[in-house]
Symmetry: C2
Subunit: 204 residues, 2 copies
DNA sequence: GCTTGATTTAATCATTTGATTAAATCAAAA
DNA sequence: TTTTGATTTAATCAAATGATTAAATCAAGC
């Protein structure tokens, strides 16, 4: 018996994850995945039956990993709002510096597929009923901000954190920004984003 | 002679723009485009020679439209920094409320294609040597912000404006956000984003 | 009405690509 | 060594898809 990570099944799944993340569902050929995994096309179908099935697995696992950065922090009753904000931003940037293709992959593929995968995953409840949002609403109240701005704020937090990864190909195409420079910039944002959000909250 | 807009060539191009924007290059079949345009597949190739050529035209025109929102504002010598900021945000949101698929389309396709289309379009120079950035740097100096934060600020402006459109499919998939509600929210952001940016600039 | 060139179509081709099959290989147990 | 089941491969199939071709249709000018 071979170790889990190097088992053929795992090798194929990792290759699929890699190729799907970069090329998307439509742009990926099963032969690409087989080659990346160092195996034959038939074997891929032997293990996963079809491109579609393999994709679903990759998609589910990617979403799970991605949501993990939220759920692991959001409902801690001990930590302050500020701490949670720092931790969420930290978690996401750390994850995405390692796998920068994830956001564009998720956004593109969820768009293509009108399946209600996200509804099934209860993302809205995870966010809106979290202790984090409760604390955020308190801070907003203290600063006399309108409740309807809650959505704006959440978008800003997520956007400031994730958008740079979505636009990364653009930066690299436009300017002389290396992977290292980009990662360094994202490290800076770990502390900058919470500051900016606080500035927004206490302004007006 | 038929009017330009309803000419067959234009009909095909519009159909191509629509389908490519939604499904991307790999996900689009030339037959989809032909059907959308209400014409036959052969005619498409008669006019545009190949899927690739047709795509290039769509991509170029989409990028041109998109950059127009920047260039039309950036080098006006009369308007203040605040005014320019408002106008850029306004232009983008107005354009993207009409065509919300553009950002995800551009981001996905530029990623797929290592062509240096953007370099050719001189985007970096358009931005960095613009009068807008000069004014932005002055404001940063007044508020004793480090110059290296310029990139962060530009990302924040663009991100706050564009990210909601990129994530729109998610919102609609997660929650009960209608197209109208989304558009209304983006209208609010036309005035909110400049405020937030100012809050960030004057904080710390 | 006829001619001519532009426009449009149906039919077909060649390649790509997802999937299957039957056979070969290999490793472990008897 | 032989047997047995799991793993792997080469070969092939069928459908999808980009592209071409030759013929039909149509509109304008004579």
């Amino acid at each position: 018996m071979v170790a889990k990570d190097s088992s053929t099944e795992e090798k194929i799944k990792n290759a699929a994850r890699h190729v799907f993340h970069i090329k998307g569902y439509a742009g990926t050929r099963t032969r690409d995945i087989a080659e990346e995994a160092g195996i034959n096309l038939a074997l891929l179908n032997y293990y996963f039956r079809s491109k579609e099935k393999l994709f679903e697995i990759v998609m589910m696992e990617t979403l799970r990993d991605f949501l993990q950065s939220l759920t692991s922090v959001f409902n801690d009753m001990e930590s302050s709002f500020e701490t949670k904000l720092e931790m969420v931003v930290n978690n996401y940037i750390t994850l995405l510096v390692k796998e920068p293709e994830i956001p564009l992959f998720i956004l593109s593929e969820l768009r293509r597929n009108p399946t209600h995968l996200l509804q099934k995953m209860n993302v809205k409840e995870i966010i809106m009923q979290s202790y984090f949002v409760k604390q955020l609403l308190e801070v907003m109240e203290q600063n006399k901000m309108a409740q309807k701005d809650l959505l704006h704020l959440i978008i800003n937090i997520i956007g400031m954190t994730i958008f740079p990864f979505v636009a990364k190909p653009i930066f690299q195409s436009i300017g002389e920004i290396s992977n290292e420079q980009f990662s360094a910039m994202m490290e800076e944002r770990k502390t900058l984003i919470p500051k900016w959000i606080k500035a927004i909250l206490t302004s007006k």
